[in-house]
């Protein structure tokens, strides 16, 4: 039946077309989700309220969306940095964990003067994240060990390390819960900026976005990343520093993920807990892909996905929806966006005449 239907690569996709396909994708995803939610007994009015009004138009909802956008934007950039160079960093959660550990270490043992305690915590987080990805990077670049496996497994190592610390030396002596002692509010917590839960981590992610934009579009490094990502063989033969570019991008990726972990701890939780990094790896990869590694696109995609997460939380809390339904809806919307991405790159062509496609004169022999 589909013998005469072909997918043809678009040579160039105009910006408006990409915007239209994405919007259509999101709309389609929301429609399918709406059907699921209506079937679970939620009224149409409530849906509109939660999905459109609360997430993007209500001040309280928007501040919540932006709060979840902060770490998502950072991990989106982290994933974009590595995956652009075909280094599959599936260990973003691990790098977030070790970032959070390093920052908590600085906070707990009161390292450095108080005036620069917070910057020190973030610096430690970035370094820890970079080191954590450095090991898989070394194995891959030196010995060809598959980084998907090593980064993924090191995530579990990092999680176990967190659990070891929280059930051990860092257990909060006051409450006895597996969480580190509360950060010092004046010197170790990110300040609220006076709009709901939104904290000054917002400036970190926006700053990272700007720096990333500069790196990709203005600096020489971004040019190398483009070339090496597209064709490492041609880049090497053309005399570009392929290895240095890959190492640089991968370290940047780990560092950004470390900072993302720190942002959650210092901006929302104020203590290291065992839940902070859950689920970020997959969101980050979706964000990077949907945005096609474009820095502004990463931030936009992170904001939209932040909105989807906020809506999910609301549904869970106010409508007693099971977590599975919420995850289902989030997945449906993400899948719709990915499908939209596909159609912005290919168009469907129907061949009228029959015959074997080998006879097509456009065959490249």
């Amino acid at each position: 039946m589909l013998d005469n239907v072909y997918l043809v690569v678009r040579q160039q996709t105009p910006v408006w077309l990409r915007a239209v396909t994405y919007l259509a994708g999101i709309a389609a995803g929301i429609c399918v989700s709406a059907v699921i939610l209506l079937a679970s007994g939620i009224s149409l009015g409530a849906l509109v309220n939660e999905f459109i009004v609360f997430i993007f138009l209500d001040a309280g909802g928007l501040s919540q969306t932006l709060t979840s956008f902060i770490p998502l934007g950072l991990v989106g950039l982290a994933a974009a940095a590595a995956i652009k160079l075909k280094f599959w960093n599936i260990g973003i959660e691990g790098q977030m964990w070790v970032g959070a550990i390093a920052g908590t270490f600085v906070a707990t043992y009161d390292i450095g003067p108080e005036s620069i305690r917070l910057p020190l915590m973030f610096l430690a987080a970035a370094i820890a994240g970079s080191l954590w990805i450095g090991f898989p990077a070394l194995l891959k670049l030196r010995y060809g060990v598959n980084e998907i496996i090593t980064t993924l497994l090191l995530s579990y190592v990092a999680l176990l390390l967190v659990q070891n610390l929280l059930f051990g030396v860092w257990r909060d002596p006051d409450s006895g819960f597996p969480a580190s002692p509360l950060y010092d509010p004046d010197v170790e917590q990110l300040a609220k900026i006076g709009w709901g839960p939104l904290h000054s981590g917002l400036w970190i992610v926006l700053g990272a976005g700007v720096v990333w934009w500069w790196l990709m579009n203005i600096s020489r490094f971004g040019f190398f990343m483009d070339c090496v990502g597209a064709n490492p063989v041609a880049a090497k033969l053309s005399g570009l520093p392929v290895l240095a570019t890959i190492v640089g991008a991968v370290i940047l990726s780990g560092g950004l993920a470390g900072v993302a972990g720190m942002v959650i701890v210092a901006g929302v939780e104020y203590r290291l807990t065992v839940h902070i990094a859950e689920g970020f790896t997959f969101s980050s990869i979706v964000i990077a892909f949907v945005a096609r590694f474009n820095p502004i696109g990463v931030l936009v995609a992170a904001a939209i996905i932040g909105g989807v997460y906020t809506a999910g939380d609301t549904l869970k809390v106010f409508y007693q929806l099971p977590n599975a339904t919420v995850v289902l809806i989030q997945s449906v919307i993400l899948l719709s966006i990915l499908i939209a991405e596909f159609f912005s790159r290919y168009h469907v062509k129907i061949r009228k005449s029959g015959g074997a496609y080998w006879s097509s004169s456009s065959s490249t022999g």
């Binding site: 020489r220 074997a356 065959s363």
Partner: protein, 507 residues
């Protein structure tokens, strides 16, 4: 089937076959015939159209015109299943086996219906029976990924036979085999022919043709040069000549003034990226102002040599000298800084990055040395300006500075690459098949550029399978075979015949 075969001597006849790819003829009224009970050899250089012609016979390509007849009856073969129904089987150069499956599982995919088998075991039993009958060493339960190339080939042959093929086409079956294994395969083919099968043997090796084929057909540039000739009527020399072309009135090349030795390769041994040996002790010198041509059939170490010279891989041993100083173990970046320039065989694989814009590709090689801005800021305006100038100078059509490179045609992409590589700092040019797939006009641009570079004192190397261009441009012609330089001639003493014989190898 066997009864029917006796009625007509010709098993497979291809008549007046033409086929164009992207408007370029790959086959131009080519014809071929193989009879029951014979081995018919098909000879020609790479790109002569041998494989294309046979792919028409086995249903992978539909010809633009021409007729196919099996057993004297005209048939329509529009898909591989048609070919199999008519008893035509082909072993391709690149085996078409599922690596993760066992032999029996692979053959189950293609032969189950012909064998009437519904279980893997039935196919395995058929494999054991047939392999014993043919004295082929094949284990039906071995995974393809675990067995040698030679055994994979035996599996392919069994696959073809068990699918009911009586017309057997083998595309360069001995290219990847040792001498011993080759002998085994050839004797199997003789057995099959004696058994009444029609065998088509595509090969480069004269020895095999003279030793085991009954008839031979030679192709050049998509056309027949020699058709259905009896092997007793040909000689090694006449075949070589037919394959590479007659010595037409030699163009008188202007004598080039050669300077002192500029580029020297000393006893170089090197591997490819997959760690296979490719270059087996190569030594030569290229003088300033010289074009040093390396002819040879593809796959004899040329790619590995080119990669070792530009620095994509580090050699195992030996050295490379540029103006007397060693660069054999330097990185690509260092070699380029010394003036080494490179045109890869596959321009979109090793030279131009298809996803990048034209100006980005043009300026790529000079971004690291500070020609275009600093680390902080890449001077894209200057990049565009320089590119615009090159586009004008080289008359690169359909190309603006902002054109995505993948939209450039082969010729224009090559011009972009040439304009980039032929810069003022050029000392040594390594051009590997620089005219592959180009039209005449673009070829001339390539030739002129190389000659101009040599005139300016660069040492140029032209590694090519196209004898025509090697002879037309080179002051010195070397022939590469099995990873070595097997002969070197000055422009005065070289003839097509000498090159042709060395290319085909005496071994």
């Amino acid at each position: 089937m066997v009864e029917a075969e006796k009625k007509h001597p010709a098993a497979l006849q291809l008549t007046g076959i033409s086929k164009k790819f992207d408007g370029r003829p790959a086959l131009d009224l080519a014809s071929f015939e193989v009879r029951w009970g014979e081995i018919h050899s098909l000879l020609g250089e790479n790109g002569a159209g041998k494989s294309t012609l046979m792919n028409v016979a086995c249903g992978l390509y539909a010809p633009d015109e021409g007729r196919v007849a099996v057993n004297g009856m005209q048939v329509r073969i529009s898909k591989p299943a048609d070919a199999i129904r008519h008893g035509i089987g082909m072993v391709h150069q690149h085996y078409k086996l599922v690596e993760r499956f066992t032999t029996a599982e692979n053959l189950f995919l293609s032969c189950a219906s012909h064998l009437g088998a519904s279980k893997i075991e039935q196919v395995a039993r058929a494999i054991i029976e047939k392999s014993q009958e043919l004295e082929l060493d094949v284990n039906p339960y071995a995974r393809i990924a675990d067995i040698s190339v030679a055994e994979q080939q035996r599996v392919e042959i069994l696959k073809m036979i068990l699918a009911g093929a009586r017309i057997l086409i083998l595309d360069e079956p001995t290219a990847v085999l040792t001498d011993m294994e080759s002998e085994n395969i050839l004797s199997l083919l003789r057995t099959m022919a004696k058994d009444g099968c029609a065998v088509v043997l595509i090969t480069h090796k004269l020895r095999e043709i003279l030793g085991c084929a009954d008839r031979v057909t030679v192709m050049r540039a998509g056309q027949n040069v020699l058709t259905n000739a009896d092997v007793s009527t040909v000689t090694r020399g006449s075949l070589a000549k037919a394959m590479v072309g007659e010595d037409i009135a030699e163009k008188t090349r202007p004598k080039r003034k050669l300077g002192k030795s500029r580029f020297e390769v000393k006893d170089l041994y090197s591997r490819d990226l997959a760690n296979n040996r490719g270059v087996e002790g190569v030594s030569f010198q290229v003088k300033s102002g010289e074009i040093y041509g390396i002819a040879g059939i593809g796959g004899n170490g040329q790619t590995q040599l080119a990669n070792a010279l530009i620095g994509m891989v580090q050699p195992d041993s030996g050295d490379i000298l540029l103006d007397g100083s060693s660069i054999g173990y330097c990185t690509v970046v260092e070699r380029r800084a010394a003036g080494l320039r490179f045109i890869p065989a596959d321009r979109f694989q090793g030279g131009i990055i298809a996803d990048q814009l034209a100006y980005e590709n043009f300026c790529m090689t000079k971004t690291l040395d500070g020609t275009y801005g600093t680390w902080m800021r890449l001077d894209r305006r200057k990049m565009r300006r320089d590119t615009a100038r090159a586009i004008e100078e080289y008359k690169i059509r359909g190309c603006q500075t902002e054109t995505p490179s993948r939209l450039l045609s082969g010729g224009n992409a090559q011009k972009l690459l040439l304009s980039r590589e032929l810069d003022a700092n050029l000392t040594v040019m390594i051009a590997h098949s620089p005219t592959r797939g180009l039209d005449v006009q673009a070829c001339n641009v390539v030739y002129d550029s190389l000659l101009r570079a040599a005139d300016k004192g660069a040492a140029c190397m032209l590694i090519s399978e196209d004898i025509e261009e090697v002879l037309a441009l080179s002051s010195t012609v070397a022939v590469m075979s099995r990873g070595r330089i097997v002969g070197e001639f000055t422009a005065d003493e070289v003839t097509r015949e000498k090159i042709g014989e060395l290319m085909l190898g005496h071994a």
